[in-house]
Symmetry: C2
Amino acid sequence: MSAALQAALASLSIEAAPVTHTAAPTHPEWTAALDALSDTPAHRRIKTLVFKPKTPKSETPIPVVVVSDDATTASSGAIGAALKLKELRLAAPELITDSLQATKDDVSPLSVTSENASRVRVALDAAVAESSDLFAVRARSSSETVFIPGTAVAAYLASTGVQIDTLAFADLAAAAPAPAAGGAAKSQPAPKTKPALPGAENARIADAELIGITVRKELDFPEWYQQVLRKGDMLDYYDVSGCYILKPLSYFIWESIQEFFNEHIRSIGVQNCYFPMFVSSDVLEREKDHIEGFAPEVAWVTRAGKSDLEKPVAIRPTSETVMYPYYAKWIQSHRDLPLRLNQWNSVVRWEFKHPQPFLRTREFLWQEGHTAHLTQEAAHEEVMYILELYRRVYEELLAVPVVPGVKSEKEKFAGGLYTTTVEGFIPTTGRGIQGGTSHGLGQNFSRMFDISVQDPKAREEDRGKPEGRLFVWQNSWGISTRSIGVAVMVHGDDKGLVLPPRVAQTQVVFIPCGLGVKVAQDVKDKVNDACAEQARALRDAGVRAHADLRDNYSPGFKFNDWELRGTPLRIEVGPKDIASGSAPCIRRDTGERVSIAIDSLVADVPKLLEKIQREMFERADTEFREHRKVVTEWDDFTRTLNSKCHVIIPWCEEEACEDQIKERSARTVETEHDERAPSMGAKSLCIPFDQDAYPSIEGRSCPQCGKAAKRWTMFGRSY
Amino acid sequence: MSAALQAALASLSIEAAPVTHTAAPTHPEWTAALDALSDTPAHRRIKTLVFKPKTPKSETPIPVVVVSDDATTASSGAIGAALKLKELRLAAPELITDSLQATKDDVSPLSVTSENASRVRVALDAAVAESSDLFAVRARSSSETVFIPGTAVAAYLASTGVQIDTLAFADLAAAAPAPAAGGAAKSQPAPKTKPALPGAENARIADAELIGITVRKELDFPEWYQQVLRKGDMLDYYDVSGCYILKPLSYFIWESIQEFFNEHIRSIGVQNCYFPMFVSSDVLEREKDHIEGFAPEVAWVTRAGKSDLEKPVAIRPTSETVMYPYYAKWIQSHRDLPLRLNQWNSVVRWEFKHPQPFLRTREFLWQEGHTAHLTQEAAHEEVMYILELYRRVYEELLAVPVVPGVKSEKEKFAGGLYTTTVEGFIPTTGRGIQGGTSHGLGQNFSRMFDISVQDPKAREEDRGKPEGRLFVWQNSWGISTRSIGVAVMVHGDDKGLVLPPRVAQTQVVFIPCGLGVKVAQDVKDKVNDACAEQARALRDAGVRAHADLRDNYSPGFKFNDWELRGTPLRIEVGPKDIASGSAPCIRRDTGERVSIAIDSLVADVPKLLEKIQREMFERADTEFREHRKVVTEWDDFTRTLNSKCHVIIPWCEEEACEDQIKERSARTVETEHDERAPSMGAKSLCIPFDQDAYPSIEGRSCPQCGKAAKRWTMFGRSY
């Protein structure tokens, strides 16, 4: 405990009983650290939250330090109303640091001092202020805690001169039930315009910096992912939970995927179109098996303006049932086949699970292709062609390796015949992720929707009869913006995003360097001009190049800025470089510096970008391969999973066995008490098409159930 | 009256009193024709509707002929239930023709004969069957009516041997209130999968053909528009009212607009992005003036699966309030300006007015650009640049002339500073249509959302103070799929769509001709190969060409088919053309035939397409110019409007005057009892930028109010 704090408490005759514990920078760790101590006095725990009221931009905000019992809840709205403050929201880390020299995790009533008292105000729970119970209070340190009565907390605060409002939080909580201040509700951190639910931010931010990523990818992957997306300018959080803003950097990736995919589907005769986003309930619920999986997530419009709709309409979660009644109408003859339509649209699945940007969002962008064919062969050929396009989107555009294969019966698309898939892998978590699926729907939907034609091969006597009808063979296939999240997770590093050159909005950035205050203006002009000129020359050559000539930022700031955004190549140009005729080019993916003659930039940079693209894929591919392990004994199964790998087993392909594998691979983890491994069980991810990559399956038996194995199958924990 | 019918009635001792009247092919015309007769007996009127029950595709449907008093209502559902038939829906024209040799307008109980009795069944209103009142019944002709008692109608039907169910419709109507069979409710014709509301189809279909357009553009424009869209394969109706399916032909036009617009906005630094479709109510309602116009049309999601949402969320009607809270967050310094974002998305405005494909739909596609600038000048420059792009979309892509100008204060975008617009014109109706708008929002939204920066030009002493803050200057601009509807309305003719070459998915179609049954196979092969080869050569030259080699359709059928779809150029290739080395090329827009040497197609077709594009614009431009009349006396105002023209007046620009103009130009029409002229009043459409096209405004006064005129302003009736 600092001498200053000791003196302050002593001057108030507060008998502080300080204890030391392991450094516990976060609130949960603090709780755990206190619980681990054996000889602490009986105590309650202080919770301290810092809020910012709505403040005109021109004024400095006065944060409100809300001090209460850990178990007490009251809404920020109710507290704000009691204090006559508008729109209380959790303060940004910078504001807490600036005003209280603390972080949101270790801030405590003792963070208020006579020095900073004028810059903050306090809302104090009467249940604390008036209690003689002992409270655990952080002693301005992550490893020290004092136990003092509630009355002493109030006395200490009063001694600093800070403005205090003592309120009965219990009454406030009763009056305004939601959202609970300090409730344990999980929620996404919200943007500045809306209050986040307090208690949401348990990530381990150690040293708050304003710009860079503050956590390491390997140590706190979820927090890293959020930071890299937001600070890298890919995405922003939105005030409707589960929805996110796709900023230009990420939308550009999506447009790149669209361009590639459109070109190739057009070449086989697929046409783009647009169906309405609304579905009537009758139509939506027509195909029971199919809709069963979506029903709990369907968003319903029940009102327009102030009028209730006579019949609610759903927002499409996918468009099979939207489109197929029209296919039945449009397809009257085998000459109307194939019918191949695709649309780029957004769909809504109102998931109640924890949302995650790109990976699990309530609205997401995708394309959905829906086609109808005369023969099963023609349908299957298309399924495989599209899957190959999905593989290329991942491997050739996003530099993300995937394993193409077919889903097990359990994992296939409900209502379809079979599902092909490209399966990706996130090395940091060892979890698999479905990348895109191309479904052979068979004749299930065409029977349901009566999409049929006179079979051109029917026998003469069957024409006009049911025996002469042929139900069309259908496919559906889709890939979504989830792919962008996968690329971020696979390539990003502790400095931010790392974008593959082919999908990077800016591929090359020129940064003027070596222009200190003593450098003459004409030299500065010359360097800036050289940057602008080279960028223009590259753009003319088809490279997305930019010269960052902002004069109010240092080169170092710019380096960080463009690194955060994943720009594949940085070229530094200073007076010496111009003199020597060559400039250092720094690769974002490896940090490697290569010197390229300025005259050769137009020729060499495109090659270097392609090299970066190729090597990014190769590294990721090697990593994925190293994490796909052939396992033939059950004993090795969960251990291999726990080492963040997928397993390839000779499998019997029986559904009961798949259930068993999931159950046994989950349970095993729990008995091992390995907290860090995911406790979920493994699913079959796909039966890879490339069976030849593995030894002969002949005579092998399934390691789980012992039955005869049919094909090598990839299992893993997954998103 | 035919001899057969006369004989049939005579054999039943039915005393028919036939009257002859002017040919009245539609039901309303029939009603009018009967009313116009002076010496008819007192009578009621028979209404006959034909329904199709749900029937497996493999079976031939048995239509139900519903015969009732014109004034009686009963729901098709109730009738269906009484007959134990599922999903009764209005029968397609073809079905009525096939089974009863009649159209929906002239079908009557007398259309049932002993010949067709086995192919239909009858549901007869007991109120007719049991009444001795005289009923007017069409005598299998559009110009003859007989007056016979209800009991005779029943007797005649019984004599044909048709299956008859006599039902008390009044009881059915009481039991099931909606939808009313034969009620006057207006509704869009629905696709096959949903029953249309009976009574909906009052359009004047004279001769039902299966493929072509059956009404003339000039005579029944609304019906023509629907047919041209559906038969031309642009669009299909959808079972959620006010929503439509954009088929590939129309979506291609949209993609062409996207490509053009994206290229140009990127060149000025606009970036594409995507914001969520959902808006919280707090955010939506933040800008009161702005939202007032949209509030009654906002669709609300209140439920997900079976759970009610804690707070309903709206679907964006436009994105100002969705985006601007984030602009406030992202724009911290003048160096963050300009911020220029655009998105291609769909928005929802749940209009309760009669929907119209493309023009007024509940969901529509558009782009919305939202930008923020440091200075008013920079903002204004962009407003004008974007408006010019909109003009080019209309004039250069869609070949539709528009008048660029600024909206009056009354007509501008609520919450903005000024609205610029391009205004189109539909000659057939003489009505104007807003084509696209580019709004200067000024600082209204930035004040509301606190989007401000430190003014880089602020005086030293104002820095950090409110006086030193600068609210950004904002714009928003949008163009929607409505533009496609405008192009259809302007260019289409009685044969179907006429597409401008630049946006036609297929620009040129080759059709093999002169291949009768006697032609040898090798000659056929040669002609087909030539078509395929020339199409390929044109495609290689960047022309969207197609060879229609379907062997089951005649050339005549194909001509009609491609004309319906508006294909700009048809090239007919037969054995003689190959021999002579040149082929007839038929322009869709003019019907003109030009002969082009087959060897020169690659060189000449692109030029011809550009000529078609140019001439389509020139014709439409001339027509619009001829319908913009300078008017300086109030007496000429409404008369000019009534001649399907816009008027250009020297205007005072006062809102009260604008209200007066609207009222006076509407009222005048009513007193003239001119049924065919729209009765709505005229609005100001825009104040054209090109004021120099008109005489000097100096010293002129407003023809309506007499005050001093400020600028020439275009008024008109509009969509």
